[in-house]
Amino acid sequence: MLKKILLANRGEIALRIMRAAREMNIPTVAVYSEADAAALHVLRADEAVLIGPPPATESYLCIDKLIAAAKQTGCDAVHPGYGFLAENADFAQAVVDAGLIFIGPSAEAIRLLGNKLGAREMMLEANVPIVPGGEVKSGDLEDFVELARAIGYPVIVKAASGGGGKGMRIVPAEEQLLESVEAARREAKSAFSDPTVYLEKYLERPRHIEFQVIADSFGNTVHLYERECSIQRRHQKIIEETPSTALTPELRQQMGQAAVAAAKAARYTSAGTVEFLFFEGHYYFLEVNTRIQVEHPITEMTTGIDLVKEQIRIASGEKLSFAQDDIHPRGHATECRIYAEDPAVGFLPSAGKIHYLNEPSVANLRIDSGIYSGCDVPIYYDPILSKVIAYGKDREESTERMILALRDYSILGIKSNVRFLIDCLSHPEYRNGNLFTGFIDQHLPEWSEPEIGENLPLALAGAVLAMSARQTTGAGTEVTAGAPVSLWETLGRWEL
């Protein structure tokens, strides 16, 4: 078994991995930038190493600093979490070259699956359905026109090395094709130093449905069923659930088998996610995420399997402790991502101090959180704060439980998307299960915070109480009674 794990990440996912390790009696080492000295993942870890200034390029993205921190503290393994270097093949290789264990797939599998065109070809060979389209080997614009005609408009131009919507262009008709190909090439070149682009049929109202897979180093690959992640803003998921309302048992079985075939084709190990677009009863391979996903907890809720603990076991050379036939998902799980952002102004991120936090406590509810009352949300990183995961016997119960939990999720000092999430979950089309990736743009396009209206006197009473109440702490510093004194702030670092 592993002896000590370096957490090459921050926030809620670093804490999530820490909990899994702690249950297995494995100590953990946090790393942090100067902006994160009082972050929860640092306070909770067994040890913590400062790795640089706030910008991620000078801290969380520095391969040499992370490896030095692992060596210095006597770690034998590194967990990358998600984001930052999680899908960077060079990092995975550097960890192995330093004599450490990378808790994730091989550098080779990350590299193979990271190239979208390469992944498409691999899936074609493995008989996994892909979106109609492909590469134009000659690079001639004439050939792009011909290919686009063959697959039919609208088409989408994508960057081979792309991600995050960069180098992507939707082309409604032939007039815009050449211009879009050229613009996408320019964008792809500047963002990924690779101008290669390819064409795909553009699906107009698809669902995003993904399958969790997990594989050991002995050739055992199992899928842990699907997650529906169609509720997105800025191409980023905000609500995920399992099971999906769109799949029949037959489709579910077929897609699960396709996901296993996809993982096997890349000789994949550890936990990974095979993403599909689902449209009019057909599914198409999109890509493989070679890491633990933000939304992994919903799968854990319905299957009872701790994915991070399994990753650790696989990394230490153990066989999977279950076979496909052992997996029987039960009930329904929903996850909402709590972001520091303002949904009323284009989901603009909101950094600052959290003056008050009260997270709900409800039966069959899980909260993976990286924040506390009094902590700062720095401007430098992804604005995810925490995740709320609600389990229920069916979709109705899971959704109702989530709404109840969100109504009790109180956060003051920065803007959050809590109220927006409640409105999404309460929308009749959400309740009917009619989801697609454009759901928010279609159903909640001009969302704004409800007006205070007749509750104004109550809010003013609250304001008066906050203004008039003052108290003095033992140390003699005056604080407003309304501003809670955080345990963490007063204790400093805590030994657990």
Binding site: P349, P383, L458, L465, A466, G482
Partner: protein, 168 residues
């Protein structure tokens, strides 16, 4: 005690009297009486007309933030100078003819120039922060009076980036 709060750019005057656990507010629209239970940590239970409401209220520098029934209301505070309040010429509840950086970040692109007419919600410039590109849009139909930044500038929060003149 008299209080003056600013909500969405408008001043709300409140006269408050507290007697034990009873708070009486006199507003221009009428009087309201609340029985208060102070739950600590900024949490209060307010009873009024046989109903009870949990309210969280925090004073943070020049603002009071109140959370009630999943709704957040931010009141700006009047400064000591008459008729003036903090954040009058900056921030979301202030003068909307000045477009300010909502947070420290980098100007990625400026999409308008002085003299140009813009429609409500038209994108004026793009600021990158927290790994994302955030468009700042015109609050109303306006003429661009001044552009105080160029692409590549690092800007602090509340820096005035663009000045507008509202057109009716």
């Amino acid at each position: 005690m008299d209080y003056q709060f600013v909500l969405n750019g408008e001043v709300v005057a409140v006269k408050a009297e507290r007697l034990g656990d009873r708070l009486t507010l006199s507003l221009p629209t009428g009087n309201h009486v609340f029985d208060i239970v102070d739950l600590g940590n900024g949490e209060f239970l307010l009873r009024n007309d046989g109903k009870q409401h949990k309210v969280v209220a925090i004073k943070a520098s020049n603002k009071v933030i109140v959370l009630m029934d999943c709704m957040t209301t931010t009141f700006d505070l009047m400064s000591s100078k008459d008729g003036d309040h903090f954040g009058a010429d900056q921030g979301e509840h202030g003068d909307k003819s000045k477009v300010v950086a909502p947070m420290p970040g980098k100007v990625v692109k400026v999409l308008v120039e002085p003299g140009q007419m813009v429609e409500p919600k038209q994108k004026l410039l793009i600021v990158e922060a927290m790994k994302m590109e955030n468009p700042l849009v015109a609050p109303f139909k306006a003429e661009i009076v001044k552009v105080n930044c160029t692409a590549g500038d690092l800007v602090d929060s509340d820096k005035i980036l663009i000045e507008l003149r509202q057109l009716t």
